[in-house]
Symmetry: C2
Subunit: 467 residues, 2 copies
Amino acid sequence: MNSVNHAARALVAALRAIVGDDGLRTDEQIALLDRGYGADNLAARIMVSPGDTDQLARVVACCAAHGRAMVPHGGLTGLVGGASSREDDVIVSMRRMNRIVAIDTASSTVTVEAGVTLAQLSDALHAAGLDLGIDLASRDSATIGGLIAHNAGGIRAFRHGMMRERVLGIEVVLADGRVYRDLNALTKNNTGYDLKQLFIGSDGTLGIVTRAVLKLTPLQTPAATALLGIENLDAAIELAHRLRTVHHGRLLALEIMWHGYAACVRQAHPELAALGLTDCPLYLIVEVAHDVALDMNAQLEDLLGSALEDGVLTDCVLAHTRAQREKIWLLREDSDAVAHQGAFQLSFDVALPVPELDCYVRALSDALARFDPAIKVFVFGHFLDGNLHIMLAADRELATRHEAIEHLIYERLPALGGSLSAEHGIGVEKKAALRRYGDPQRLALMADLRRLFDARGTLNPGKMIDV
Amino acid sequence: MNSVNHAARALVAALRAIVGDDGLRTDEQIALLDRGYGADNLAARIMVSPGDTDQLARVVACCAAHGRAMVPHGGLTGLVGGASSREDDVIVSMRRMNRIVAIDTASSTVTVEAGVTLAQLSDALHAAGLDLGIDLASRDSATIGGLIAHNAGGIRAFRHGMMRERVLGIEVVLADGRVYRDLNALTKNNTGYDLKQLFIGSDGTLGIVTRAVLKLTPLQTPAATALLGIENLDAAIELAHRLRTVHHGRLLALEIMWHGYAACVRQAHPELAALGLTDCPLYLIVEVAHDVALDMNAQLEDLLGSALEDGVLTDCVLAHTRAQREKIWLLREDSDAVAHQGAFQLSFDVALPVPELDCYVRALSDALARFDPAIKVFVFGHFLDGNLHIMLAADRELATRHEAIEHLIYERLPALGGSLSAEHGIGVEKKAALRRYGDPQRLALMADLRRLFDARGTLNPGKMIDV
């Protein structure tokens, strides 16, 4: 407490009176927090963890009265600095609001508090034969409140949509400490403007999510997995069309990798040679779910066999064992392997209409090669969403050239109908890019809305958009 | 033109200069319009039909400059008076903006103008093996712009969500004539507040939708249809659980009827006796889609056979011919049969959590019987959405007692987590009820938003909420 000044002491006392000793941490403890992916600058010296919505409402009113801005914390798995704080900010951690309130199997909905992690929720749902329809690598840490605030995506968005589409109802504490409660659990409820949508994907700038009602889907488990070698994007589109036409409801994943990325991961993992895949410009990973009375291994083998015969596929490895399946997914998921390709890295998350993907990657690779031939480009992503994760590695420093590189990545997107943030959001990291490449009229409306909901700028300041 | 006064003459001339003779109708022609379901009072004397977004933008700016409010028209199939107008309003008909701009099969999206009808769009999509995932009885007249403005529902919302979930991108003319253009075609695009959500389900009060990008799903066609007799709601929930567990991705419809409604339709259609169904408190209609390598008739027969053995079902009629299928659907869809039960009728559209449905219907029936034992109650709906259509018939006048009856229907809903408008919206008809039963804080935020988007109140005045 020694570094907290007099005014702060009064605030801390007031907060302690609301949340108790358990709900308060000060600077020494904050310094010890696991910073997740490291994008967040945790300079704030006070962290408050309310135990319920009422406490949070009082915390927010208290901070507002003390003229302090608040930064909500979920699992700190964001990648755009959405949880970063300044010294005078108060961190509002949702970790203590971690109850799964109720699972309604008849309506296929669940009511949860914001601090529940995705893994915690998924485990409970799977036990009931249900699923959220959202999955992410950061499932063990990412919280439902964070997934909502940043409208999370992941591998299954092409089937079930983004987090936005899972949210039926929401409870939010507004900037002045009022509670906006719309815990709707109905699919159909047409009674006015759908205000909850504003909070979803707002980076916590319009309100702090405390609770939500989420729509569920029956649990599907993987039945067959294959790694496919493909010559060009048209062939990948044709294969996707065949898969969706007969297996859309069973398609769990359709991931894409460009050759350079797959080669990089294979180089880092010599055991992947056992998969025996030939070199191809593109790879797809397809995974389908079990289904009643269908041998999905045979179904997938048939479909892929025909595609090989027709020349749509160049190569195909069907996983026959659990170990093979794990190898296939390792190829896609070990993006850390890029670190071996250069001491300096940058990564980007963009989306484009599917037919534009390959042209874009080629044009970008050419532009980057002209900019600095020493930069290596690695691309993979969620195919049917047109969502590319682009990783750059070089042995020369990249951060100081970030803006110029960013421009090469973003400048082509508006004309192609692309997005400069597919699933990571804006936060701090992409705020300048949004201002530069975004539609001015849309940005003006966003600023109007932020002012309407938070006239004093006390909710997650410095994120998304300046007002 | 004789009834149009001098000021209006100047407005008409200005509008004619924008849209040409083809785009303008005056009072005599408006009087001849098909009023759809009749809920709309078309008192306006000027109707303008812009040919494109630019014309509409100029029309809106022109009306705003002349101090005239505007009422958008789609297919006039709304049920809550959302298209009704006052004498001095200008009707903005979207009928000339009826182009399907592009179908992108690789991304499963379509770009359409607002005046395209659902049937027109569905025909084009089905030819490409795709589907919007939305279907409604009013498909031949209802337009995409109207479906978006009122967030349409229908029979398939439990699978694909409401219209809201089909909208990826939108183009809207704002109250001052500016064009808000966000024709996003991506599943993943996390670049700020999702403003398009405000226009969806706004009854046209925040802007006029001109164009949209919609998400598509592979076309599924019906393979098997059955009519089921059920003893109680728990059994219906159990059957739904069994169906969703193995056939969720193939389930096209799960409709519910209470005994009184089914009896009323059977009485009106003696040929339905051929279905041979026994009397039961509840009926369900289930329809499943064709699927690769699965005999869905046999699959459904197996599942229903087990349910009969287990006592979950009391009776089951599987359609073996097209004629039988049509009879089953007639039972559900001929709600006009209620007209034979009394000269005066009222109808309501509510939703509740599925487990509450039967209790609610019983309590409501009891309350109505106490209110006036001569009122007959008929209930059917979309089971998995908890969406009930409640029709009342009596030989004594009902309209003057509308508010009292409405109170019996709506008063129980808030405590049960129900909605007083599941899929019909608010418009004029439910505005007072929303004010009475809605959350005051939510209504205050809605009013703030309406003021933000339309400070002068020129867009569809008198609908949704007063500011």
